[in-house]
Structures are given as structure tokens and as C-alpha cells.
Symmetry: C2
């Protein structure tokens, strides 16, 4: 079929530019987004994306389970469902959370369109413009985007190799309150942090819970990677020790597959009621078909055995990345060794700027996400997130080799001409003391 309408130029004027809501000014294309177009070219080794590698999923099992679902329960799977989500799936979600020590009732679970939508709905019901969300430094780029879209202010609190630093949290709370602003919640990713790659130590968890209890601050615990540890039993969730003060977010995107967009929020009862109203307003209900497909997969397949396979695959890739970094990286670069999840946080030798360097890296056919994407305040230019979840071990090593080539060129330029891209930006404006972007 011919299309008579031509694609329009992206550069023409936007006749609606004066009519958007104030919040829309905060909706800008993220640094990750701009990268996707380039990084998806086959010749580029992308260490940028956070796509899980689902090639190990048994397609015949999944296809068969969904075929049976349509044949036996198609009219329900294809109909509108409850705004809160499918009751059977919510029951299974409680079984999943039990692996992290959470004892919950399915009545307090709300199914969402991926856990991204859970972040959106929680922010929607809590945040007025100018309210403050405390986030780790660095924090998940997708959550920062949500907070910005609701015109909430992000205040970062430092992390180290044991996760969020309690004293930094105390200082952030005190500073925000001294400024007269309201803190709506602490957003934290305790396990296999995106992008920092670290987990919150057990003693830290107790301390963070205690600080938030005392300061009467709600915790938003985002946990997409909790079952993807390489060595240990799953860490105990913050929610396991505090039911009233924590909203817990989970997802099947990394333990099963992201294309169904099934995540959830577990919330105190009154908050749960608001979340359901927000969900009904946003979508009427999450997709019945997706939910019942996930439910059917969980019921008919050894999903925990599958997660074990995923963990082994990701560990092998983590090993490939770490050994390549150890073999090839020049002195002065520092990184952490994650014990689960998808990410390594790498800090460049002093004076290098990961954001400024990115175009040269892409020219050298390797992509990463500059650290600035993970800060609301421009910090992080000396760092980058490297993900090992998607490429093969061979490609990971090749990607690191290319990256090292670019870094070495930058170092040579720096020696020849002095600082090449200026000091990392944002180092003056940042709202916290000495954030540690070296998490190793």
C-alpha cells in the first residue's frame, strides 16, 4: 500500500509549544534514549542497555501454556479485569515475595504495567510539585524521569560499597527539612543496584529502616533484581521487617520476560486503595492477557529453575566483564564487582568525562551510559554504567577492549593538551557532600 502522507520533519515548529502543562517541560529525551538508535546497530557492542537476555526461555513451554490459556480461559483473558489485577496472579506474587522474607496478603498487591508504572502511580498519588524524593546517588534513570515528570525535586544521598550511607541519609533529611520542603519518600534499590551494582548490607538495612521510622518517612523499595544474586540466598527485603512504612515494588521483567509488562506494588492497605484508583484512571485495568500468561507460566513451569539458569548466565557475563576490565583497563579507572544484577559502575581516571567521550566511543563501536544520566543534579560525568546482561562473554570482552582504546586515547590527549573536556560538570551545584562515585 502506498502512503500518501510524507513523514514530517522533526525540525518544524511545534505549534503547541505554548500550551503544554508545566510538567511537560521536564519530559525530555534521556541520555539512554538518544543512545538506543546508535547502540542498536549490529556493529556496536552495547554495554548501555538494560535488556534482560531471555534467549534461554523455553519457547515451546511458553507458547503451549499460552495456547492452553486461550483455549480454556480465553474469554476471561481477553476481557477487562480488575483494576487491582488478577487475583490468582496476586496470590502467586505473594509466594514470590516470600522468597525475600515478605509475608503479605494478596489484597495489598496492585498489579502494574511493569514496575515502571508502579513508580509512576506511587509518585502520582504522593507528589505535588516541589515535594522532595530522596534518592541514592546514583539512582535509576527511569525513576528520576518519573519524579521530574511530576515536578518533584530529587535530593541525592551518597552510597558506598555497602549501599546507601546512613549518615548521608540523615544529612539529606535534615537539609531538606531545614529548607522547609516536604519529603514524600525515600526511593531505594537495595539489591544489585541500577546503576551502582552494589547491595545494601544487612546492618545498613536495619539502620535505614530505623532512620525512616524515626523521621516518619515512607520508603519506596524498588526490587527488580532481587532474585538475580550470583552466590547468596536472596537478601531480606526492607518490607520484610516493616509493613506500614514501606511500599515494595517487584517485577517479572528480569525473572521471566519484560514484554508482558507485569510488575506490582505491595503497599499499606490505605495506600493500596489509592493506587487502585490511580491505576483505574490510568488504564482502567492492567492487561488481563499478560497477567494470565505470566500466571500460567509460573504455575506450569519450573520458573525458579529458569531463574537459576539466568543467574548462571549473568554470572558468567559478569565474570567476563570483570576479567576484561582487570586485564585491560588503564591505571586510575575504578569499578565495583557486583554480586548480582546487570551492572558495573565504572569511574574513569581523573579528568576524563564519560559524557564528552561518548561520541568517540560510539565511533569506536562501543556504547555505555554516562553517569550523569543517573543524577538529577549533573553529577556523575566521570563515571559510566556498563551492563553485561545482554551481549555474549566474547562481545563483552571486545566491548571493553574498544572502550579501553578510547580511554587511552583520551589519556594521551590529556597528557598532550591538559584537561580535554573540562572538569566533570555539576561538581559545584550538587546538593550533597562528597558523593562517592567510586563504589568499588
Amino acid at each position: 500500500m502506498t502512503r500518501e502522507v510524507q513523514p514530517r520533519s522533526a525540525t518544524r515548529l511545534d505549534s503547541y509549544v505554548d500550551r503544554y502543562a508545566a510538567r511537560t517541560k521536564g519530559m525530555t529525551a534521556s541520555e539512554i534514549r538518544a543512545l538506543f538508535a546508535v547502540a542498536s546497530r549490529p556493529e556496536v557492542v552495547s554495554l548501555a542497555g538494560g535488556m534482560p537476555n531471555i534467549s534461554g526461555l523455553p519457547l515451546d513451554v511458553v507458547g503451549g501454556a499460552i495456547y492452553d490459556l486461550v483455549r480454556t480461559n480465553g474469554p476471561a483473558a481477553m476481557q477487562y479485569g480488575s483494576g487491582q489485577g488478577d487475583p490468582t496472579l496476586r496470590d502467586q506474587i505473594c509466594d514470590v515475595m516470600r522468597l525475600e522474607g515478605i509475608d503479605a496478603h494478596p489484597d495489598d498487591v496492585v498489579v502494574t504495567v511493569g514496575s515502571q508504572q508502579a513508580v509512576d502511580l506511587v509518585t502520582r498519588i504522593f507528589c505535588d510539585p516541589g515535594d522532595v524524593v530522596i534518592c541514592e546517588a546514583p539512582s535509576y534513570v527511569g525513576a528520576l524521569g518519573v519524579f521530574r515528570a511530576y515536578q518533584a525535586d530529587v535530593v541525592h544521598a551518597e552510597m558506598d560499597e555497602h549501599g546507601l550511607v546512613p549518615d548521608a541519609l540523615r544529612q539529606a533529611i535534615a537539609a531538606v527539612r531545614a529548607s522547609g520542603r516536604r519529603i514524600k519518600f525515600l526511593y531505594t534499590i537495595p539489591n544489585y543496584h541500577n546503576p551502582a551494582g552494589v547491595s545494601m548490607a544487612p546492618q545498613r538495612r536495619a539502620e535505614v529502616l530505623e532512620i525512616c521510622r524515626e523521621a516518619d518517612i515512607l520508603i519506596l523499595e524498588d526490587n527488580p533484581y532481587g532474585l538475580l544474586g550470583f552466590d547468596d540466598e536472596p537478601h531480606r527485603a526492607l518490607r520484610a521487617d516493616e509493613a506500614e512504612g514501606v511500599i515494595y515494588l517487584g517485577s517479572f521483567s528480569k525473572t521471566f520476560a519484560p514484554g508482558f509488562r507485569v510488575g506490582w506494588a505491595l503497599a499499606p492497605h490505605a495506600v493500596r486503595e489509592k493506587l487502585v484508583l490511580a491505576q483505574e484512571s490510568a488504564t482502567l485495568c492492567p492487561p488481563s492477557f499478560s497477567q494470565m500468561a505470566v500466571s500460567s507460566y509460573l504455575a506450569n513451569h519450573d520458573w525458579q529453575g529458569q531463574v537459576k539458569q539466568f543467574r548462571e548466565m549473568y554470572r558468567e557475563r559478569r565474570d567476563a566483564m570483570i576479567s576484561a576490565l582487570e586485564d585491560l583497563m588503564p591505571a586510575g579507572a575504578r569499578w565495583n564487582v557486583p554480586d548480582g544484577g546487570f551492572y558495573v559502575w565504572l569511574t574513569l581516571p581523573h579528568g576524563l568525562d564519560a559524557k564528552a567521550m561518548l561520541p568517540r566511543a560510539v565511533t569506536a563501536r562501543v556504547a555505555y551510559v554516562p553517569g550523569t544520566a543517573f543524577f538529577a543534579d549533573g553529577f556523575g560525568a566521570q563515571s559510566m554504567r556498563l551492563s553485561y546482561c545482554y551481549p555474549t562473554p566474547e562481545r563483552i570482552r571486545e566491548g571493553v577492549r574498544r572502550l579501553v582504546g578510547v580511554i587511552e586515547e583520551e589519556l594521551e590527549l590529556r597528557e598532550t593538551f591538559g584537561t580535554i573536556a573540562g572538569e566533570p560538570h555539576g561538581s559545584v551545584e550538587r546538593g550533597y557532600e562528597s558523593p562517592n562515585t567510586d563504589l568499588s
Copy 2:
């Protein structure tokens, strides 16, 4: 498995009550929602819901198409996709819209989680608190909920049997502008209106477009029922004659099945870019699996033949409802005869209040939605929405019989005691002149 946590009482205090965002005050359970629990009991004939009847869908065809999808394209269907939606599906969506005279490019389409999410995203990018959305009187309850959740003010403009009344639109625009407020868009359902059951006449369409062009007002054209006309070719969309000033919303919920939650927005290019950013913030991307399942169904099945079957089924049910109303309703009740879609708008004899009468109707085992649900200003108490989409013709007739019994009791009470439930509420506060809730 035993559950050690008890379900909590819904009546306990909400310890978060002082912390919600201002917008959350506008999120309250709708009248439709409160009805669902009652109306879903099997002994109740529900003329309340808007669920399409999808029992005619060929489950073997759908199941087979999805099985093939998983086997041949599973890794893509289960992976993250584009925030804008699947390119193949967006191409097919353009073919669907062509049936209503729309010549569009897939690059201007954004896939959403049902068209409900499209209403949410459009409102998100355009409406600051206090901005005005002009809506028909009555209007879709789910859209009114979105506008309330974004703290936009709804101003109604009268409809009659030919749809939105141009003079009422002119007056609403003038009144809002005189008050110094900003109009962000006109929200309209031109075809087989929910809940009014009427379609906008062709001459009206040209006039409404001209008024909005002249006043520089964006039109949000919501069209879930456009292909479900009983007699005619599909009406020509407003978007077919105005590309820059109209955002068009479509859905597969009524032409295929709602459980996939696949709808879309077709928007001017610059607006489309904002919608994609809003979608990425809200969900990262709409569900790949749902989109590819719908795409596969469209490609491998005579979906237009299926829609023809749906139309014949709904016409039979419309006939059953209209003939029952004609046979049984007492003098003074008035209703329209829809030529498509799911709904009849019925206005009770003078002095009766549909909202006050509802508990008695449910006791008599019939449910409907009181007209007040479809007004932002409390108007509509004398009217109700009756839907004929889901029950069988026999059940529809039985439902009308029960409803007539309740109305006759009310009339008797009124004769004996005078007005029983007060005059319809809201008749003083409404913000427009003489809205016509009698659309017949």
C-alpha cells in the same frame, strides 16, 4: 498455603492521609465502580457495564496465532519494545483508521495501554491544575476521572440528538475565556456516544471543526465505537478533515478484545513526540506481547468479518432493549434509539432520581449507571445509562421489566407522598444553560 496475615479492615485510619498529593483528593471511587461488586452477582441483570461481548471470538484461531507468534517471534514479543509501540502494528492501525477517512503516517501513531491511557497521557502533557477541558454533557465517566485526577476543570457543552450543539460549544468557549481560564482541549466522542448513544451529524462535524479552528482549540476525538455502527458505513472522523488540530484516539477493545489493552493516539507530530516521552515515563513501553498478539490477529484473521458479526449481535441486542422499552416503559420516560455502539440514554419521568432509585433497582435485581456519573457538575440525576452490549436479548428484556417495576413503584410513591427524593441534585450548580438530557 496458609496466610498468616489477615486481611485488614477497610475502616481503619489511613496514616498517610495528610501526605497524598493534592490531585489524589480527586481520585474517588466512581459510581460505576461501586456498582460492579453488586452488578456482577449472577442474579442481577446488569445494564450497567460497558464490557464488550467477545464470546463470538474464535478461540482456536486466536490461540493458534499467538502460539505461532511465540514460536516464531517469541524473543521479540517477550522483550522490551519501543516506547512508541510496535512498527508493524502502527502500520496496521493506519489501515484501520483509513476506514474512517483518515490518511495518517505510522510515525504519528503512539500505542497506549487501552485508549484510556491515551486520555491519561494527553491530559498529562497538556493540563495544569485549573486548566479547562470542554466536554459534552453527558461525557465518558473514565475521561472525567482522568481530568479530575489532573485537577483540570470540566466545562460541559450541551448535546442533542445530533451530537454536540455548536452554539453550546461557542457559549462554553466564550464563558471560559471571559472567566480568564485557559481551554486546553475539547474532548468529544463523535460516534455512538458513551453514554448518550448519539452520533454527531456530518454538518455538525464541519461546524465543530470550524469553531475550534477559529478559536484555536485542540480537539481530542475519542472513537472506540466508530466501527460498530448498525446500518451505515463508518462515519467520517473529525481527524479525516483536520490533521493539525485533532488528536484522534482509537482502540481494539471493542473491535477485537479489551484484555490486551491496546489502544492508540494519532497526534500532530510535535505532540506525538511528547506523548512518547510521557509513555516512556509511565511504562517504559506498552506491552510488546499484547501488541504483537493483536497484530498477528489482524494479519491472520478476517477481523472485519468478525466486526460485522459483532455489529449484528449488538444490533439484535439494541433491538431487544428498544422493543422492551417501547412495550414496558411508563409514560414520561424518554430514550434515544442508538444506531451503533453499546448505550441507550434514558431520562425518567419528571421528579424521579436515578441515583436515589439505584439501591431499590439493585434489590429488584437490575443495575444501571445513574446519569450523574457522566457529569462533572452533579447534573444528570433524572437520567441513566442502559447498556445492551453484554446480556442476551432475553436478559435485556427481563432487566427492562425489572427496571420498569421499580420505576412504577417510584411513581406510585410520588403520587402518594409527592416528590420522593428531592429534585434532581445539581440542577442549580451546573455551569451551562439547559443541558438536554433527553437525547431521543
